[in-house]
Symmetry: C2
Subunit: 322 residues, 2 copies
Amino acid sequence: MRPVSEPSRRGEFRLIVELFAPLATHPGARGLTDDCAYLSLPPDEELVLKADAIVAGVHFLTDAAPGHVAQKALRVNLSDLAAKGARPLGYLQTMALPRSLDDAWLEAYAAGLAADQARYAIPLLGGDITATDGPLSISITVLGAVPRGKSPLRSGAQAGDRVFVTGTIGDALLGLAVHRGTYAPASAQDRAFLTDRYDLPLPRLQEGGALLGIAKGAADISDGLVADFGHIAEASGVGIEIDAARVPLSPAARRAVAADATWLPRLLTAGDDYEIAFTATADPPSAANATEIGRVVAGQGVVVRDAHGRPIPFDKSGYTHF
Amino acid sequence: MRPVSEPSRRGEFRLIVELFAPLATHPGARGLTDDCAYLSLPPDEELVLKADAIVAGVHFLTDAAPGHVAQKALRVNLSDLAAKGARPLGYLQTMALPRSLDDAWLEAYAAGLAADQARYAIPLLGGDITATDGPLSISITVLGAVPRGKSPLRSGAQAGDRVFVTGTIGDALLGLAVHRGTYAPASAQDRAFLTDRYDLPLPRLQEGGALLGIAKGAADISDGLVADFGHIAEASGVGIEIDAARVPLSPAARRAVAADATWLPRLLTAGDDYEIAFTATADPPSAANATEIGRVVAGQGVVVRDAHGRPIPFDKSGYTHF
């Protein structure tokens, strides 16, 4: 769209041709030479759609590595596709760029996207680049495909279901605490593991695919384990009970809890885990890397119980964005 | 996505539930109660996708009416679908909101979207709202459907085609000039017509639909008549000749040119017309409201000729975004 003012830093055209057109590897993207992209869908599949925006200073640290920013922007959306059992088809991206970002920054950003496109087999389909006087803002819309009617929804949980989560919980919060200097791991190895978990989510696409037909209620964990199971409970009209001692923690997170037990409730309510929270009656396949942590009951809300079965009180169940 | 900092103005949840969930009228949007939206596609159709972002102070005036901002954000994307002959299926929206926008602003914004959703039969499918320290930034991804392989592309023009444009050209530039105080129409009627044309594009969805099977090379005019025909010429590997005297002008624009002939080249290179530029061999149907203005020739680039057949020189052929 034509701007009212005319900032003159760097040609949009050159940016698109040199940095982003090489990412538009899907034939329907036509190398970004057209105004629109085209996409077909197998007749037995439906589209799964998600759009998320991230803003510098709000969702990522302003000095974050550009490749990490690109990958985080893409992966938080891929994580939603993963929870729904969808395979990625492509994505559209809009960027509002401050003038302070130079060519080197943008090249590193595009390189980060390119690496993730290869990793997750998802091509750029289109988008838009504009200037802004404000902070860097990136909006990504991902498109995925899933066999029609087979995707697990937030609303699919039923009383009697078992409650599961993939991977480990709380690492990203500890990683952010390391960045902020409020948590100091004993080892450099733990430090690297935890900050990686904050900097670079690992969307559980294979796990989500393996759970198709198994998971009944599902969501990815972006707002926090308790909050996201709360979304499932609310949408499904059920209650969810979680046994704190069964929540899977990484060795690095276990060491943090061993040093300071107050970390545990914080890890359960932190966000950015990007694991899959789900309910099921059948056993999940081992490829889902899932741990059973509780049960779905009649009622509402989420209760987390300690090793003695007593409810753990929480100040807040998770994150709200503002 | 969970933010690093935690601005506390207004509940994202409440905003979504009260203002945006009522817009999510498509069953696949599930009232915004899930993380993703779902969409099916008839087997003989393909998706047409477009994403565009607008930023306050860059793409619209910061004191613009909130309903107009919403409608402009949606319509610039619908205009791309129109040029491709696609019918709208739905859209996803992300917003980065500065704290200065109050509830009344957001309510008027949502009301503007609601009116356009009814007007263009396009429902909200999903999205995201976040806070920003910068200007308001809105990113919209629209999805449309078109019979598979039937959409006119930028690359579809061939030497020998006739060159057409829908509607009238240059009104939006004059409307912006009125806003800026650099053009004073003689009548209040012209003033209102021109500023409306700038404030509120009219995506030519019916015209584009009527042109399916007729239009060969097509694009919507966002960067300017000459620039967008330039995109068609480049993508198609042809030249395009335009007769300036045949370019359709509104009565208000004709009065501006009559008062000051230097407006004419400016109108032909201004953007924001959101008409459809296309080539065809057959006569367009009257429903396309199209005017023949030139021809496709062997060669490259766009030449605009005056009434004596002499090329009109241009300082610039259209807009680049920064």
